[in-house]
């Protein structure tokens, strides 16, 4: 991904709190979070942040509340004109 730097990371994992248990990796329905199995030294890696559904399952299952979901500006403060979603007139 060439634009990786610009991608908003919605899944904020507190490295001090995380117990490196794999549950977030297991529960993510989109295969976004990668965590080395059976290894209590490595943190989970949010590998595909732009594919997040904002479902929060990772946050809900985290046994130590190490995860926070952060919504980006385009969701929180959405400026899109809804009419732009309603199709083009090609008559």
């Amino acid at each position: 991904m060439s634009e990786e730097k610009k991608v908003h990371n919605p899944i904020k994992i507190d490295p001090e709190v995380c117990v490196k248990c794999n549950l977030c990796d297991w529960i993510c329905p989109g295969d976004l979070i990668y965590k080395k199995e059976d290894d209590r030294t490595t943190l989970p890696d949010v590998k595909y942040p732009d594919e997040c559904w904002y479902c929060g399952l990772c946050q809900s299952i985290c046994p130590v509340d190490a995860i926070e979901i952060i919504f980006p500006e385009e969701m929180i403060n959405c400026k899109t004109d809804v009419r732009s979603l309603l199709g083009k007139d090609v008559e």
Binding site: W53, L57, E91
Partner: protein, 568 residues
């Protein structure tokens, strides 16, 4: 040989509610069942990811409205006459039985406030059919039942191709996108339960994975079935819903069933202009009304809860996170208090699902056993021609599970074909080519599909716009083989992207064929703005014939199965 060969009685593609509920009766009848699931766990619903807060069911609790006969009588008006009444009737009759069965798995549908079922009315249904409950653990219990009965689950594994010989399906090709292991799986029958088609059009946030329903449900069942020659129906109808602007999430049912009002920028409560039921109209009607208000220049549109009593608001607030766990965080980060101020709403992106009405599903045409037009291929859930949310998935899933069990037992040990190694190699090589290809990244490819769908096949269509869409989508298909994946995860997305494009092309063709408008913005043709009851009480059927899209029609007063020509 560079793939693993497996054999099972029943292969289920998709481990959501429909897939698991299909697996259960097959396992109970002693058959071997293998489920392919893109996720790692079976604990959550395929379509909504989190839990469930509403479950539509008949309970035979006494009043006439709570009987199957009463609801069945209203199905034609709920679906504008385009529905397979035979399959729907069976589904509705089976609702009480399947509800009890799910309760026996440990799901508690009762509201602890009353120690009783708390039932609400919504979406134009003629009775208070929805049980409102804390279904956070709903799917977990169903998934556990599959594990308990020793169903085999291949997780993080995506089916990409159905195997068939002599017009009969006998298995599928799949791969694990974490390990890269490929599978050829032989099965006496296959149940498709891979859900609807999402990531199909643009939405307010502009983020493709911000979608109302699961963005990882991408029409994989539709593509595999279409490629195998199965009939798809109702593909012209699209579904959209209302969401808080910027976050395409579930929650409309909770809003309307608890009594929220929709108001336009003038503060006018406009829903009664569109339907005598007001905010209790069908989802398709609500969405269409909001689209119209925006087109009339009456936007922004708001959902207003301020008039509701505090106990109702308390309940809404307490249950806000059941359907979408992050909804409270969204409101909090937006600094918006829905109790005290109106919430600006948008229409969501589009899905090919069940077009905002209950019981009219878009996908594989199935009969009363869940059997599709293709021998040995079954379907259930949001990829089948009869669908009805979570309950529809559960009940049709169970029907298909019983149907496939009886079918497999009737096959009575008949020998399955040998694997066709050339075919499996071809599928695997075509896939692996994406890992070295130099064409468009799948994201850019998918953006093109979304743009075409939003602009030309979306909520306002005409023959000119559809012609343009059909041409552009067909030419996009020519670039498909060169689509680029960065890794195995990307290869999964490439397959999803192909399914989305194909589904959009099927939708454009079906929408072109239906020269009328029906069910508001689910299918609005600006060149044929009227509903034509004389000529169009018909299903549009799309199937593949010699690499072409073949369009046929069948009378909606007859079941879809009347046109099936299985195994010939």
């Amino acid at each position: 040989m560079s793939w693993t060969e497996l054999e099972t009685d029943v292969l289920v593609i998709g481990g959501g509610v429909a897939g698991c509920m299909a697996a259960v009766p097959a396992l109970e009848s002693g058959l071997q069942v293998t489920i392919l699931e893109k996720g790692k766990v079976l604990d959550h619903c395929g379509s909504v990811g989190c839990g469930v807060d509403h479950y539509l069911t008949i309970m035979d609790s006494g009043p006439e409205w709570d009987t199957p006969e009463f609801l069945i009588k209203h199905v034609p008006e709920l679906t504008d006459g385009i529905v397979d009444l035979e399959v729907t009737s069976k589904l509705i009759h089976q609702m009480p039985r399947v509800l009890k069965k799910i309760e026996s798995f440990g799901v508690n549908f009762k509201d602890p406030r009353f120690n009783d079922y708390y039932r609400l009315k919504s979406f134009g249904l003629p009775g208070t059919y929805h049980i409102n409950f804390d279904g956070t653990e709903f799917k977990k219990h169903i998934g556990q039942q599959v594990r308990k009965l020793k169903g085999k689950v291949l997780t993080r594994t995506m089916g990409v191709h159905l195997l068939e010989k002599d017009n009969k399906v006998y298995g599928a090709v799949a791969f694990n996108f974490r390990t890269g292991e490929w599978y050829a799986i032989k099965a006496k029958s296959v149940v498709m339960a891979a859900g609807e088609v999402n990531r199909l059009s643009k939405n307010a946030s502009g983020m493709p994975f911000d979608s109302w329903h699961c963005p990882f449900n991408t029409g994989d069942a539709h593509r595999m079935a279409f490629d195998a020659g199965a009939i798809l129906t109702n593909m012209e109808f699209v579904e959209t819903t209302l969401t808080p602007k910027g976050f395409s999430a579930q929650g409309l049912n909770a809003l309307v069933s608890e009594g929220a009002h929709f108001v336009n920028k003038q503060g006018e409560r406009f829903m009664f202009k569109y339907d005598e039921k007001g905010e209790n109209a069908r989802r398709a009607v609500i969405a269409d009304a909001v689209i119209n208000e925006y087109l009339l220049g009456n936007g922004p549109i708001y959902a207003d809860c301020r008039h509701l009593p505090s106990d109702v608001l308390d309940h809404m607030e307490a249950t806000l996170q059941i359907d979408r766990y992050t909804m409270p965080a969204f409101y909090e980060q937006k600094a918006l208090k829905f109790r005290d101020e109106p919430v600006e709403v948008s229409i969501s992106e589009l899905s090919i699902r069940r077009s905002g009405v209950y019981f009219r599903g878009s996908g594989l045409a199935v009969d009363t056993e869940g059997h599709s037009s293709k021998e040995n291929l079954f379907a259930a859930g949001d990829c089948a021609s009869v669908s009805g949310g979570i309950a529809g998935a559960a009940v049709l899933g169970h029907i298909s599970g019983e149907g496939v069990s009886a079918h497999v037992k009737k096959m009575n040990g008949s020998k399955l074909p040998e694997f066709d190694a050339d075919e499996i190699s071809r599928i695997k090589n075509e896939n692996e080519h994406h890992l070295v290809a130099s064409g468009l990244n799948w994201r850019a490819f998918e953006d093109k599909t979304r743009e075409i769908v939003s602009d030309y096949i979306g909520v306002r269509r005409s023959s000119k716009s559809l012609e343009l869409a059909m041409q552009t989508l067909a030419s996009l298909a020519n670039e498909e083989s060169e689509m680029k994946a960065d890794d195995l995860h990307g290869l999964m997305r490439v397959n999803e992207t192909k399914s989305i494009r194909l589904s959009a092309e099927v939708m454009a063709n079906a929408a072109m064929a239906r020269t009328e408008s029906r069910t508001g913005s689910s299918h609005f043709r600006s060149d044929f703005p009227e509903t034509n009851e004389t000529d169009w009480k018909k299903f549009v059927l799309v199937s593949k014939n010699e690499e072409q899209m073949n369009i046929n029609y069948s009378d909606a007063s007859e079941s879809l199965a009347s046109v099936f020509d299985r195994g010939k």
